[in-house]
Symmetry: C2
Subunit: 559 residues, 2 copies
Amino acid sequence: MEPVTVGVDFGTLSARALVVRTADGAELGTAVVPYRHGVMDAVLVTPSREIPLPPNWALQDPRDYLDALKTVIPAALADAGAVPEQAVGLGVDFTTCTLLPTRPDGFPLCLEPRFENEPHAWVKLWKHHASQPYADRINAVAAERGESWPERYGGKVSSEWMFPKILETLTEAPEVYEEAYTFIDAADWIVWLLTGCETRNSCIAGYKALWCGGYPSEDFFRALDPRMEHIVRDKLAAPVLSVGTLAGELTEQGAALCGLASGTAVSVGHTDAHVVAPALKIARPGVMLDLVGTSSTMLVSSESYVPVPGVCGIVKDGILPGLWGYEAGLGCVGDAFGWFERNCLSPELVREAESRELSPLAVLTERIAETEPGESGVMALNWWNGNRNPLGDGDLSGLFVGLTLTTTPEDMFRALVESTAFGTRIIIENLRSHGVAVDEFVASGGISRKSPPMMQIWADVIGMDIQIAGTKEGPAKGSAVYAAYAAGAGRGGYGTLAEAADHMGTGPIRTYRPDPARKEAYDALYRDYLTLFDYFGRGGNDVMKRLLEMKKKARGKKS
Amino acid sequence: MEPVTVGVDFGTLSARALVVRTADGAELGTAVVPYRHGVMDAVLVTPSREIPLPPNWALQDPRDYLDALKTVIPAALADAGAVPEQAVGLGVDFTTCTLLPTRPDGFPLCLEPRFENEPHAWVKLWKHHASQPYADRINAVAAERGESWPERYGGKVSSEWMFPKILETLTEAPEVYEEAYTFIDAADWIVWLLTGCETRNSCIAGYKALWCGGYPSEDFFRALDPRMEHIVRDKLAAPVLSVGTLAGELTEQGAALCGLASGTAVSVGHTDAHVVAPALKIARPGVMLDLVGTSSTMLVSSESYVPVPGVCGIVKDGILPGLWGYEAGLGCVGDAFGWFERNCLSPELVREAESRELSPLAVLTERIAETEPGESGVMALNWWNGNRNPLGDGDLSGLFVGLTLTTTPEDMFRALVESTAFGTRIIIENLRSHGVAVDEFVASGGISRKSPPMMQIWADVIGMDIQIAGTKEGPAKGSAVYAAYAAGAGRGGYGTLAEAADHMGTGPIRTYRPDPARKEAYDALYRDYLTLFDYFGRGGNDVMKRLLEMKKKARGKKS
């Protein structure tokens, strides 16, 4: 019986399990189970009622996670032709911060009849944004008090993080806050149910809960709301363990929840993005992992902490154990391309896509492969969803310049792709200029595999080799690698994460190398991109904000 | 027999005749005849050969004008149920500067066998742009010598004008230059053939041939090329008469060319744009006529001359007799909208347009009627074809700012329409700030009639009533009004142009009035438009020029 580990990736709409051979990382079997209630963003379905939700809400039902867990691992084992006894470790990653309040025994408050019709008692999904006013309040109080921790978060707490969601609950449903034994990320909650051990992990605590050896002070929380003064002592007392640490072993109850054998090692919970690194053999400083999807998440580790303005987070043990993890990213990549194919086409291109049964995006991608840097005559600022890093400004917007009567949709699309590359280059140069090395670049995610011309443009713009991830199973595989590390060498796993990553991770399937002539052309364009970036993004001309204000006013009047 | 006059409008592709009752301006009959050879911009078809033409050439065959003339007036008379003897006057307008070299008897050099295969001997159509290097040379020499006349032309001679076309011929086909008795605009040439009197008119001479009481000096022409020193004395000696002046009467030969009776009054030739004013009852200072088509031509008259930078031309008797005519305009209006509907659509909009058998532009126009100023969140700089006025810079390009993931094609289209309105407002304010009154605004051309939401936006932005021209026959009708003025009161016409315009011109069919609240919103947006205008257009950031340079280089390498 060869040892395997199992990684389970809880996404936004489904859970995915992967069975991996610890010896060589072979991906033996997989299964996916969707959540019954999906994302509840318009109506909350409770056991007794259907409750309409205000805008920007996004809830989930915790039973969906357990239902998925119960079937997805056995299905993956069956697909692998493996038996539970082969599994030496289990790892779990989740969307984060996806938060729920529980009783001391881990039972979700929302499943108690007295709270089932209180939306704040349910799981607030990562993209629940109704907490924005509370994020604003946290930022204001932190600024007033001159707190030091905002430096690690580019100066700003996001509405997606833990304390805005908790402060929202305290304010709008104080009885839920009072009754909650704890507020816990679903990743840690699942690990708790499986092992009986309540833990937190350094990745989620660091990036989503302002933790750095400890949470913010009681003074800070009291300033926020006197009722929160002792929140850390009273509700967040569980230990925060470094990523990859053994959280505990499967209890009998835990084993029943997931279909593996009791005694199996379980690693602490993890974030679905950051967990990908070791799946791609990334276990050392200076290797940037870029998860390119609707937006991009750029992750790189370093031996030391240096303050870098304009990042999302700088967290000890945040990506890899023992290292400082730096996270930054673009506010939209795939989302911008999706916008483009829905809004910027010629009738001719629409018809070609239809007749060839391709998406407009596929046709656009073909066409930009035929042109050279500068040939479009168009430049874009890629801020369709604001600028996440380094400006952290959601009120910025996209721009095209250079349009003429002969400009084509593919000219504009190429400019848009180039602008995402320029935006990526700015983030890399920002990190480097503050002393964080970025020596290698690994791209993962659908766009990195499906769009060779885009990745070539990125390589030419950033002037680095771009290695394309060799597996599509990044998150589940990363959880499986961490599970092998948590299990340890003694029971069929590995003694260090580096060893686990080296044996079980997957190397690149392809590398895009920058072309020197194209790189030179892009260096010239990049200077112009930077000038526009500063002019529109750093106060030279705040026209984007004024346009947004006017839009809000005009639309407000109508509704 | 009630008196009529006939106006003939020679366009780019066809000639159009209109029979108008002098008493009340009733449009009694019309006819159109296309030119057999159309525009020859790829191949010149001569009696013996087909000669490929270089890029940017545009020639016509003068026989096409005569063939059209021979049939179009009789056809219009027949349509009107009128006889030639009713016609008391004939007026002719033409695209300008559409230039040909002739013998002393008016015979075109290109129809002589020895010149028929020399492209420079043929009619150079207004949009023949191969003469650009010669325009550059004229501008350089004028600047070197500190000539005063460029002040009347926004500092720049266009390649479309007369002397660049002549200098090109002198340089590339000196034998044509030597042999030419004169170079003459087709408008004046037709009048010459009809009346036997060789005249020039103040509109074409003023706007297209640098004339202002006289042409530039012999010193200037000698500096340009010693062989041109005496060009005015030797080849341009014919008198320049004010617009609307009687050029002569139809000779027997002239009568045979057009089918009217000999002795009929013929007014001097005219430009197809400027001739429109009296057709719309415009015969006094301060009324701006805006011909809104692929681009826009904005014409307003004033009692006095003041230097205004950033106009196309300031010409005495240029639009109306006795007044100084100021011309300016936008480099593209309809052209930009046409670009938009070919390049910036959603698949959904393409399908809706197809299923309703509408153009995408018609659907976009419907949709922008449903939104308010500022609601799009988008702003554009309308420079898809450069900026004609006030910047006179063809190397500028279009811009969109304010794009987000929820921006729609109609949001962008509304911004584009608004930008043409802002551009129009800048021209009006530029004229006013230099002392040229603009008290009324009359719009003519297809876009002004077909697009109520656009015209409402224009009215809201410029803060003036926009009167929409009541006739589609602007040029031919204008020629007919001028013919009645040239004929004079004694033979069934009018003693003053004002009387002729008042009796025969057509008032507006509709007036768009600015809405105060929308005007206020646009005032705010206009401030931002001006900031972007100066930043990108006046040297704040020359990124548009650099993008154009790179584009030319990249495309040059490929071809």
